[in-house]
Symmetry: C2
Subunit: 191 residues, 2 copies
């Protein structure tokens, strides 16, 4: 008899999973090097698969970029968790934003691919990753406010907006993102 008969989808065949992993790995390397200039055909040949296989795994170019960016949100969320738990004074939010800048800067190519692929939307996480992040950011804000280090009206929306600005400055090289961070963090202080 077959090993399992649950209605839930079974684990993918090994070669299918490996193809997917190869495509993602190739995409991450190429986007890191050349940003939004990489073509779908390049990703396919770098991954050693046919172009059709890329589209079997990722419905469109944007979906591939989105998937390649998922690492980031995991990284950022993990850092936020540790900052949120470890911070003793009210500086958690500032450290969070600095880390966001560092992650966006470290892989500027992917940052610009994301921004270019999403027509109107910002560079925020989607779905449940977003919900989890929102929860952590909310807690960082509460702690900052409790410590008297943050304006009472500081909100999660501010943090997303500022992240988008960091992304924009880094992507366009229109200035020094650490300087922007200084200005904005200053603006977030009470009084």
């Amino acid at each position: 008899m077959p090993t399992e008969s649950t209605p839930a989808r079974r684990a993918p065949r090994a070669d299918v999973a490996r193809n997917r992993a190869r495509i993602l790995e190739a995409a991450r390397m190429l986007f890191a090097e050349r940003g939004n200039a990489v073509q779908m055909h390049e990703v396919a040949s770098a991954a050693g698969v046919g172009i059709g296989t890329v589209y079997r795994h990722f419905a469109a170019r944007e979906a591939l970029i989105e998937a390649a960016a998922e690492h980031r949100f995991a990284d950022i969320e993990e850092f936020a968790q540790s900052v949120c738990l470890a911070d003793t004074h009210g500086q958690g939010l500032a450290r969070y934003l600095r880390h966001v800048g560092e992650v966006l800067e470290r892989d500027r190519g992917l940052t610009s691919a994301i921004e270019a692929a999403r027509g109107a939307a910002g560079s925020e996480p989607r779905g449940e990753a977003r919900a989890r992040l929102e929860e952590v950011i909310g807690r960082l804000i509460e702690r900052g406010q409790a410590a008297g280090a943050l304006r009472p009206d500081c909100a999660v929306a501010d943090v997303y907006m500022i992240s988008g600005c960091l992304s924009s400055v880094i992507r366009t090289r229109s200035g020094d993102w650490r300087r922007l961070l200084d200005l904005v963090v200053d603006g977030l202080r009470p009084r």
Copy 2:
């Protein structure tokens, strides 16, 4: 004899100038409505000319967008001049930035076309328009500092960076640009 024989280029024929004006007018209307989604063929047919004529006047899509955006810099510079001359206290720079936001918001379609067309560059003016603007912004900063309303280390680069952030927030609708302005202007105050 011909009216003039200077080596300087003569005035363009009337129909050529009219074609150029029609193309720009069509481009401005279309970009305002549909942002970066407008196609070169659409611009041509909306202007009532062949596609080749569009390319005779503007070497590439980006050049057309750049030209369509020139109005903006004239608008902004004029406002900066009047603010610079009229402001009594140190609020000139804040009013300047608010006006930039209003201009970018008023024609969001063009704003996003500009950002999408320029791969890496920001949404700053180029050439001599930039030089003139820089001069005025520099004076606004000096006056703000003299009035004790601005940090001593505030620089023209900060203003360009902030303008780029306003553009990003407005384009991606990732937040309330007036809120961003409040935060940043607060961060630019001394102490």
